[in-house]
């Protein structure tokens, strides 16, 4: 009787041991991302990762872009944050203030993939006091899309300065059928605005928006809509979908966006669409460096596994596959060498724009500027409810 009992106990102990070992091994990494592309290749990447890292399970969730950060901040405060997520630079100050980010400088330094990252990306993504919280995963730079066929028909060259831009836009405007420029006056249009206003000396911060030059630059932009009428009347509410569909349908001859929309535009317009760097309005041009990075959250209990996953996504071929879905550019040197995902003319416009591409100042107020303040003030200025100066004062009040 005693012997069978001993065997039974031994079997139970082994089973329990195996079960607990299994539990310890099956670390689950919750990952949030945002892809607009319905042909989402994340499942292929996850399969490949899980095959090479048998102890880690990835639960990836595609969060709609419009509410991505609202969900992220509330999930952090609610104690239900993911272990890792895609993040943009403008969110970094808030996330740091919330104590939500895990420093990853030591991990990056020890990571073999570091040398394969494109130069300067890590320093662009750097946090305060030399700390590193973000690992770059893709990037874009905003440039000017133009309808090559319309320009050729009007015997025009793509504009290099704002004066040339305005002349070309006026020449191409045949309202209400065609407008020279598709301006994004709704949410997310601050980077188009920046091209015309920051390049004329305005600066986001106290005293930087209310100088006579900055107000004049803002007035110049508002006049495109109110005086010159080279922008569609729907501009105050237009978002990404509207400016892209207007450009595709021939309603607008120029717009500003990045390489992420090139595949869609080429599909609709073929060789009729091309791109050049944004026009220079003042002493120096300004365009927006569109970053996207990966971060680990400090509340995560599986930080090592989360690091393995995010570093996997930033490595050579994996990163290329990741960018296939987002339509943006790889952050690795090895991936950039044989880059065939975009037509050369769009890659050239991006590379030519890099020297003057900038990010907004990393302060918590910038997030509010991007999220709400810019669009509400811009819309009111465009529709004549406030002046160019009042708009600048309202934005500047954020930084008081």
């Amino acid at each position: 009787m005693r012997k069978p009992m001993t065997i039974l106990l031994a079997v139970c102990a082994i089973a329990a041991g195996l079960a607990s070992a299994g539990l310890a091994q099956a670390e689950t990494v919750r990952f949030w991302y945002h892809f607009d592309n319905p042909e989402n290749p994340m499942s292929t990447l996850i399969e490949r990762f899980q095959a090479s890292h048998p102890g880690i399970k990835i639960e990836a969730e595609n969060i709609p872009w419009n509410s991505y950060y609202d969900n992220l901040y509330t999930s952090i405060v609610g104690g239900n944050a993911p272990d890792a997520a895609m993040v943009k630079l403008f969110a970094q100050p808030r996330l740091i203030e919330m104590g939500a980010l895990e420093p990853i400088k030591a991990r990056i330094d020890a990571w073999p993939g570091k040398t394969d990252l494109l130069d300067n990306l890590l320093s662009l993504n750097q946090g305060p006091a030399g700390a590193q919280y973000y690992l770059p995963v893709q990037y874009v730079v905003l440039y000017l899309y133009y309808r090559a066929d319309m320009f050729a028909a009007a015997n025009l060259q793509p504009p290099k300065t704002c004066d040339e831009f305005l002349s070309a836009a006026k020449a191409l405007t045949k309202a209400p059928e065609v407008y020279g420029f598709g301006f994004r006056g709704g949410k997310g249009g601050w980077d188009q605005w920046g091209t015309f206003v920051f390049s004329q000396g305005a600066r986001l911060g106290k005293g930087g928006l209310t100088t006579p030059e900055a107000i004049k630059a803002n007035q110049w932009l508002i006049d495109l809509y109110r005086v010159h009428k080279i922008v569609p009347p729907s501009a105050p509410n237009d978002g990404f979908q509207e400016i892209i569909s207007a450009f595709k349908s021939g309603k607008t001859a120029m717009t500003i966006h990045h390489i992420g929309s090139s595949a869609d535009l080429v599909k609709a317009l073929g060789d009729k669409v091309s791109a050049v760097p944004v026009p220079r309005c003042g002493p120096s041009a300004w365009t927006s460096y569109g970053d996207e990075s990966l971060a680990i959250f400090s509340a995560s209990k599986v930080k090592d596994a989360a690091w393995k996953w995010i570093s996997f996504l930033a490595e050579g071929e994996n990163n290329v596959q990741f960018n296939q879905a987002t339509g943006q550019l790889t952050v690795t040197k090895s991936g950039a060498k044989g880059w065939k995902l975009h037509e050369r003319r769009f890659v050239d416009a991006t590379v030519a724009s890099l020297p003057f591409a900038q990010v907004l100042p990393q302060t918590p107020e910038t997030t509010e500027f991007v999220n709400t303040v810019w669009s509400t003030t811009m819309q009111r200025a465009l529709t004549g409810q406030i002046t160019a100066e009042q708009m600048m004062r309202e934005i500047e009040a954020l930084y008081d």
Binding site: D70, Y73, T74, V77, R94, E97, M98, A175, P176, G185, G186, K187, P232, P233, S234, A235, P236, N237, D238, E242, S245, A246, S249, K251, P364, E368, N371, T372, S375, T376, T377, Q379, R380, L382, T383, Q385, I386
Partner: protein, 306 residues
């Protein structure tokens, strides 16, 4: 009479305590669920509104008493939103009711395929608000929308109208959308009311020489007045709280042109993450709406009692 009453009282058996307590036991889960799901968040919201609480600055949270409410009174966007809310409710509910009444009167008549028409009229009500908002956003689109195309072809307008981008038109464009979405609710409710009016009342009125208008005025309207009042009160509460259609169609823009109080509370709390101020707006609006809610509860209680 007294004897009968007292005799009947004597006949009522005294229920054992277990029998008396049973209804309360059965009600307890529902009451507890309501307390946890409805009242606890309400109390939490009131408490939060007394704090300067910005979600991304959790360590800087501090008690400010009625500070957020005083700030509210000086906030021009609050007053703009309050004005829009009044227009929003004041136009949407009567328009929905009027259109619903006309639809119900038509659907109450005999005509071929009446059953199909009654089923189809419910479609706007059955569609999700987000779908409706997206559909109407494209209908109103000045570049590709069908409304401008139609008006241009009919030579009613000379150039495309930016319905949602013009601060003078945007709110009314959304009101038209919500009217279209909500009128089937009234139509169905009123139709049920119309069918409960006995035919004999119309016959009697006709014998007395009442014309169509007089029959409508003195038979139909009194017959459906109860339904109109209850449905109207309910709809005021729903329309007042509705933010989804506005949010999808304009996000409150251009500028503050389509901000209503619930939307302003949402933008403050959810997008600016200013939970203290956002909940102060929400609590204030709830108090403003409380009068309508009280009327509805009083009315419902009367109906239950009768």
């Amino acid at each position: 009479m007294t004897a009968i009453v007292s005799a009947s009282h004597e006949d009522v058996p005294i229920r054992p305590w277990r029998g008396r307590i049973l209804p309360y036991c059965l009600l307890t889960p529902a009451v507890l669920a309501t307390l946890v799901v409805v009242f606890l968040p309400m109390v939490e919201a009131i408490v939060t509104s007394l704090y300067d609480f910005i979600l991304w600055k959790p360590n800087a949270s501090r008690f400010v008493g009625l500070g957020n409410y005083l700030k509210l009174l000086r906030d021009p966007v609050f007053w703009i939103s309050a004005g829009h809310t009044a227009i929003w409710i004041g136009l949407t509910v009567p328009l929905q009711m009027g259109l619903g009444l006309i639809a119900a009167l038509l659907l109450n008549r005999q005509f071929p395929w009446r059953g199909l028409a009654r089923a189809l009229v419910v479609i706007p009500w059955a569609l999700p608000s987000v779908v409706i908002a997206l559909v109407w956003r494209w209908i109103y689109d000045p570049n590709t929308g069908i409304l401008n195309e139609l008006l241009l072809r009919l030579h009613i307008i000379e150039s495309a109208v930016p319905w949602l981008a013009d601060p003078d038109k945007a709110l009314y464009a959304i009101i038209a959308t919500l009217t279209w979405q909500g009128f089937p609710f009234f139509a169905v409710m009123i139709l049920a009311g119309l069918q409960s009016i006995p035919e004999s009342q119309y016959e009697a009125a006709a014998i007395d020489g009442a014309g169509a208008w007089q029959q409508f005025r003195h038979v139909t309207l009194p017959g459906i007045s109860g339904i109109l009042a209850t449905a109207g009160l309910l709809r005021i509460i729903w329309v007042a709280n509705s933010v989804d259609v506005i949010f999808v169609m304009t996000g409150g823009g251009p500028g503050y042109a389509t901000f209503t109080l619930p939307l302003y509370a949402f933008v403050k709390a959810r997008q600016n993450l200013d939970f203290g101020y956002g909940t102060a707006i929400a609590v204030t609006f709830s108090l403003l709406l409380a009068g309508v809610v009280a009327l509805y509860i009083a009315r419902s209680s009367r109906e239950v009692a009768s």
